[in-house]
Symmetry: C2
Subunit: 467 residues, 2 copies
């Protein structure tokens, strides 16, 4: 593309059927005031956007910000300063105690087969114990599920258990592929320790076949201390190589060493800003993402994009002279990744203060091009939300349907609140998720801004139509 002669005819042909919101036969008529307000929101996001610069600062001057780390503390200060500079009606920090797990010295791993040593890209899973200081070494037993491991029982004794069920590539929505595998990472160590396994390694949670291990939360649940074994993720390329090598050499030995540690809980904060409602100041609509991230990269897509988009929502409302009827809050939640303490604290305080929360929106699925919103709500508002489809379709937001809200806003769930999840395109997300590849350069400025405008438009509609 493109021979310019033909662009002209293209423009003539499409000019009547793109961009300008046009009602279709099967769709309800659209409200012109809303249509114009949304157009103004998108125009301002795309020409006067600030969220991309904010993300640059967050990623490139602070970087990864795991709960309890000095970087997380810096991120809290950065968030507070930014919200203050934007002159919202209220800005405050909400204290919350968070888990404090540290990775320690970089992990090492290799396996040896027929005299050849293969180095393995590896990273400890968040919450894991360390190995002994000399590492752990043993034969490997490969399994594809928690159930298979449970069945093997005592055969796991003295072995390193290797969970290797890959993503189902046929699932179009990549979060479904993740959801179909992540039990291995989260609970692999919990189910195998009681059989005397030496350790657990897990195939990284990604479609990509590459050299990057992806970390993420694991849990030992309530098992006794002496059943806890160290657990780590290995890259998909290494997982494939190990699996292949095991076929011809089932007694090969795998070594890994990690130095992670769980310290006492640390003090931290949710960062909150508010535009107070003009008619119903006691009723709240929350928009947010999570300020913490894993430590292997800069947490650009997870969830730097959600953070800066959520702040941009309030800025764009102000910039466009929209005075919301309800109080609109942006919340930079702390500790989504390994505890959800921030989300729980926010809901707890809301309850303590008898706040009325009518809606919440979370952006925590990356900063790629917008696709739509999923909502978790009572059925009363279903038709209302679906009636917004023609207003949002001109901006590529076609997927408006029931579904998930978000982890941080989940604790707000009640009979009366509507929880929304912002849904960007998901195809690239697990290339970066929890890995060293989740850096600022993977974020596209326009895609980020379109997301912020999409979210602002939804908040505008919620404020306009909900009581």
């Amino acid at each position: 593309m493109k021979y310019p002669f033909l662009i002209i005819s293209f423009l003539i042909i499409v000019s009547s059927c793109n961009q300008t919101p046009i009602s279709k036969n099967e769709e309800p008529p659209i409200n012109k005031t809303d249509s114009l307000a949304i157009k103004k929101i998108f125009d301002s996001a795309l020409t006067k956007g600030e969220c991309y610069q904010w993300l640059d600062t967050l990623c490139n001057t602070i970087g990864g910000r795991l709960s309890g780390s000095p970087e997380a503390e810096k991120a809290v200060k950065w968030g507070e300063n930014l919200l203050t500079s934007l002159k919202f009606d209220k800005v405050w920090l909400q204290p919350v105690m968070v888990p404090h797990w540290v990775r320690g010295k970089k992990e090492e791993a290799y396996f040896t087969s027929n005299g050849t040593t293969y180095n393995v890209p590896i990273c400890a899973l968040g919450g894991s114990i360390s190995t002994s200081k000399n590492g752990v070494k043993g034969e490997v037993i490969e399994v594809k599920s928690l159930e298979e491991a449970e069945k093997l029982g005592e055969q796991l004794k003295g072995k390193i258990v290797f969970f290797n069920r890959p993503f189902d590539d046929t699932l179009i929505e990549t979060f479904r592929a993740y959801g179909g595998c992540v039990d291995q990472r989260y609970s692999g160590a919990k189910v195998t320790g009681k059989f005397g396994a030496l350790g657990v390694i897990v195939r990284s949670m990604t479609h990509n076949i590459d050299d990057f291990p992806h970390t993420g939360a694991m849990s030992y649940g309530e098992i006794p201390e002496n059943e806890k074994v160290p657990t780590a993720a290995i890259s998909t390329k290494a997982a494939n190589l190990l699996s292949e090598t095991l076929k011809t050499n089932p007694t090969l030995e795998f070594f890994f060493k990690q130095n992670c540690e769980t310290l006492p809980d640390a003090p931290s904060f949710n960062v909150i800003g508010e535009i107070t409602g003009s008619e119903f100041p006691e009723k709240y609509i929350t928009v947010g993402g999570h300020l913490d991230s894993w430590d292997l990269a800069d947490g650009a897509h997870d969830d730097g994009t959600g953070i800066v988009q959520s702040i941009e929502v309030l800025r764009l409302l102000k910039l466009n002279g929209i005075k919301p009827k309800h109080s609109i809050r942006v919340v930079l939640f702390m500790n989504e990744e390994n505890g959800l303490r921030g989300g729980k604290k926010y809901a707890e305080e809301a309850k303590n203060n008898n706040e009325i929360h009518i809606a919440a929106l979370e952006s925590d699925a990356g900063g790629h091009t917008p696709r739509g919103f999923s909502f978790d709500s009572n059925s009363e508002n279903y038709n209302l939300f679906m009636s917004w489809k023609p207003l949002l379709a001109p901006y590529g937001l076609h997927e408006i349907d029931k579904g998930y809200g978000g982890a941080d806003i989940g604790p707000l769930k009640s009979e009366t609140i509507s929880l929304f999840g912002y849904k960007p395109d998901s195809q690239r997300y697990f290339d970066y998720h929890h890995a060293a590849t989740d850096t600022f350069d993977k974020v596209n400025k326009r895609e980020l801004e379109l997301g912020a405008a999409s979210m602002t438009s939804l908040i505008y509609l919620l404020d306009t139509y909900l009581n």
Copy 2:
């Protein structure tokens, strides 16, 4: 994302509303045979895809392949060998003479203001003449449109004319922003040479503010030789700097030197493969992209992705045991970028051979995540095509509407043919288009494969429902 507890409830909530094609109230009932055929196509594309590997070879062993270049010749051989290895019913080369423009030695440019020299990233536009061997130097006159340049008339004499109208960032569909600016690149030199301008520089065709100049076709039209002036694109960052500097120093001097040349037309080929129809072998459905690319990078998104997706369409039909009723042709068109000779030749030969072409599909808008298809057709089939929306929506293909087909298939246009353009997401496309950034690493495997599956599904439907 994501705290895994919540993934489970997410899956429960969404499992009934995603992926599985479900007819909505307002939508026609979907045909189960078609639904299953399309599911099989997507499953095979995502688990047994070959197009990403092909693209790797095309980009990384051949690279940029401007018409008439040795690389274009290699690409023809690569295409012929690949189609032959896939054992389609017929494979042949269709000879076509193509323009042969060469860039020559790397261009140079700078401007000087108040004793400081600023180097300017620059590239000659395809079809431009060279400067004299010492380059050209002169004062700069900045304009925002061809009309403004025409009005200035004799004031352009002895000047370097600087076309600097930027993309309109508020247009959601980025091809519309491109279409609104590209006249400056294509015709800037044509309209200014007659006034005695020394040369023309044009702001690069991209939203991005960066250091990469974007080349592309220009034309002198029918103007006399002595009115032809050299023309080049400069990076957007340099364009902004130049424009700013001109405000305080309107007499600054700009220098550029380029060594490009138009050689005699060269022999080349369209590369064609065919699966011959089982019922109507004399009726054709064509799918294709263009094999040539600009020379500054590997032509990954423009249009390597279109090429490998088009080939994958025929392979996926075979792989899934689909025996089309009509003859399905893949065409790797030569010379879309600076002549469209391949597209014209294919249509000419179709006419000479009295071939009946009922449909054609082009992929030439990049390899990003699928959004839909636009079609240029008589109104008879409108309802048929729109009835396919519920079949395609589960795969993210929501944008099925009237619009542009494609440059290469354009010459096939008639009263009876339906021309389709594959429509991937467009937000990142102009970051790479015609610039040194258009490399293989910018292509995501799943997005590419989803596009190939989308195209195969459309070809399946066209073959099934058209006569």
